[in-house]
């Protein structure tokens, strides 16, 4: 009897540990390889921010892929999940920019790449918005999120441009 209870307890603990690990993986928008890459670039603002651009771009590519795949049946839900992944990564990139600004890092080079990527992201997401207008029922599942993503990028692109201009001014004076 004790042995059965003990086995049961072990099983419960193992299951709960497994579910915790699974949940942690599921809830993190970045996979372990991406996390390692970011960790390696922790002290390199330029490298780290370029990685965030790459990861955001991967999420959008995945979004475009499911939007055109005729085999996908739950396109609305899949679109929503990929938009959320993109937004999570993009938010983290912005958070990292704030951190590096506080550390007074030179972000001129990565910011130029980010601004270019912003324009690319805006264009791709507006294309999703246009196609969503043609299928209103499906779009109901992700329309609010898509609007949030577009709002975030629209305001971020202004912030990134403003920051680049401030940095160019600040580092110009530092050179002298």
């Amino acid at each position: 009897m004790i042995s059965t209870t003990s086995k049961l307890a072990r099983l419960v603990v193992a299951l709960s540990l497994l579910s915790t690990v699974w949940a942690q993986r599921r809830r993190d928008p970045l996979n372990p390889v991406e996390q390692d890459k970011l960790r390696d670039a922790a002290q390199e603002p330029s490298e780290r921010l370029k990685l965030y651009i790459e990861f955001s771009r991967t999420r959008l590519a995945s979004l475009e892929q499911i939007r055109t795949d005729p085999k996908v049946t739950d396109r609305g839900q899949q679109t929503r999940a990929r938009l959320q992944d993109f937004l999570d990564v993009y938010d983290e990139m912005n958070d990292n920019i704030d951190t590096f600004v506080e550390r007074k890092s030179d972000l001129r080079k990565p910011l130029k790449a980010i601004i270019e990527a912003d324009t690319e992201f805006q264009a791709k997401l507006r294309a999703v918005k246009s196609s969503a207008d043609a299928n209103k029922d499906e779009a109901k599942q992700y329309d609010f999120l898509l609007t949030s993503v577009l709002d975030t990028i629209d305001s971020s692109v202004q912030d990134h441009r403003q920051l680049l201009s401030e940095q160019e001014e600040a580092f110009k004076h530092k050179k002298k």
Partner: protein, 145 residues
């Protein structure tokens, strides 16, 4: 001359008031949030959460894991208070939803910089903020937005 003196005095008073506001301690801010009107409470509680999130980052970086964990707990506590006040008053719901999303992203990023043993409470805090955010979204859509 008297006019100039008055202007200088007013400017001085305004700037010292602004400085006092800016340097308001966490305890003062908490006291203000506790006694604030319900419609002002979401913004004040959010400010406390954001300050504590910044502190948590600094504390973990300084190797003060226990204090970092306490700061993360404050993030959750005051986010919950902000959430409750926003639902009750109907104010700042959208702002709060965006702020929670960004704070959850910061928590996930912070988590990845920590030792495995320190990661669980930070991940739990990020998850809690995501839940609060989902609840705010449900509230917004429930109201027919």
């Amino acid at each position: 001359m008297r006019l100039q003196t008055t202007i200088v005095a007013v400017l001085l008073a305004a700037s010292s008031l602004a400085l006092a506001y800016k340097t308001e301690t966490l305890q003062e801010l908490i006291a203000r949030a506790e006694s604030a009107k319900i419609e002002d409470r979401p913004a004040l509680c959010l400010e406390i959460s954001e300050r504590q999130l910044k502190s948590a980052d600094e504390l973990y970086t300084a190797g003060k894991a226990d204090e970092g964990r306490a700061a993360v707990q404050d993030v959750v506590t005051y986010s919950e208070k902000a959430h409750d006040a926003a639902i009750q008053s109907g104010k700042k719901v959208k702002n709060l939803e965006i702020a929670f999303r960004k704070m959850a992203a910061k928590l996930r990023d912070l988590k990845r910089s920590l030792n495995f043993d320190d990661q669980a409470p930070v991940q739990a805090a990020a998850d809690r903020l995501e839940n609060l955010r989902t609840d705010l979204l449900s509230h917004m859509f429930g109201k027919g937005k």
